[in-house]
Subunit: 204 residues, 2 copies
DNA sequence: GTCTATAGCGGGATAGAC
DNA sequence: GTCTATCCCGCTATAGAC
């Protein structure tokens, strides 16, 4: 049946849109760019996705899911605290090399977006993860297994150490001049260092 | 003399351009936006700044200077190593609250910019700072005053911990829903925590 | 220096032929 | 489903009156 076959064109558009939106942003990408990069035309894009904003939302939601939701399972797991922290960090450092531009894309587009779009995201993604993390940390501090570090500071440090290296890659490669392959290797090696860094800093 | 008086219009345009470019990016900002936000018109903007790209470059260069060059004095200073690290971190946490959107602006626009612009920046800002930092760290490691941490990993961690909190503020306030004033207070308080975190993690 | 008018292009969206 | 043609708008840039 023609209806259930993937059209091919639709997938190509989605792929091209992903690359362009993620590397050049919403405002820096036009439907015409997407059409020519996917070897189709403007009418195809409009036919399958109605509007630029609608297509963008599909790409953005997937990116947001990768950056935030896929990691939440680790944080809400019942692993012992130190292992949970280690898993949290390693999960990011194993996931993000496949999507190195996602952290910059998501955080940057949230800054550029009008309130309407951001509100939609906020509604879909409540603070459950953050609350759960908060509970876990408070327990451990009470037990004395880690030194008393405010939840906000530890959480922000971990996110900083996991996401920033990927957000910095454009600067490192394009401005400082480190070859991309070399930077990627350095970041891959950075994972264990971040784990050590965090666990050492948490020792009572 | 009329020539040496600030025109007023020119300054208003610069101010409006700064706000718009920094919050909405190059592609998301039009000359018309800048003209109306500065209570002037398109011709004024063109008269004083010739082109959108030229005006952008002025704003970008200043932002780049704030983010990178103003801190370099600390790194190249002759302070004892631990004090230098502490000064480096505190300098960022004292400077960036005045320019909270600068880290995201600079790193994001570098990703979006064509090679031509990025090359210009790279030429102006060689890797001197990075080399100097590298020397300092290697000395300390040889002396045994800090544990042997690769230069790249420590440098990247410090940049991560100092810049990311500001890059994350849009997410925290708009998606997680933390009020901006509260987030700012948390980040202000975060400074000493980052210093402790880094120094603890460096202990031999 | 200031401002209007407009050129010339590229943007998103739409209509309708096939 | 596919594709061309086109509308209408906003964009940067320019010319030239005052």
């Amino acid at each position: 049946m023609t209806k259930s076959q993937p059209s091919g064109v639709k997938d190509r558009i989605l792929k091209a849109a992903k690359e362009l939106f993620i590397s050049k942003g919403f405002a820096g990408t036009s439907i015409r760019d997407i059409a020519s990069a996917s070897d189709s035309n403007v009418a195809h894009v409009k036919y399958y996705f109605q509007s630029k904003a609608n297509l963008f939302e599909i790409i953005f939601d997937e990116a947001f899911d990768i950056l935030i939701n896929r990691v939440s399972a680790t944080i809400t797991s019942d692993l012992p605290f130190e292992e949970m922290i280690e898993r949290w960090i390693t999960t990011y450092f194993e996931l993000l090399p496949h999507y190195p531009q996602i952290p910059m894309f998501v955080l940057s587009e949230i800054n550029h977006s009008p309130d309407a779009l951001v509100d939609k995201i906020a509604r879909k993604n409540p603070e459950k993860i953050f609350n759960r993390l908060s509970e876990r940390m408070e327990e451990e501090i009470k037990k004395g297994t880690i030194r008393p570090v405010p939840v906000f500071d530890l959480g922000l440090n971990i996110l900083s150490l996991c996401m920033f290296p990927f957000m910095f890659s454009g600067f490192a490669t394009r401005t400082v001049g480190i070859p991309r392959s070399e930077y990627n290797a350095l970041v891959a090696n950075h994972k264990q260092h971040v784990v050590d860094f965090v666990l050492r800093a948490l020792k009572p």
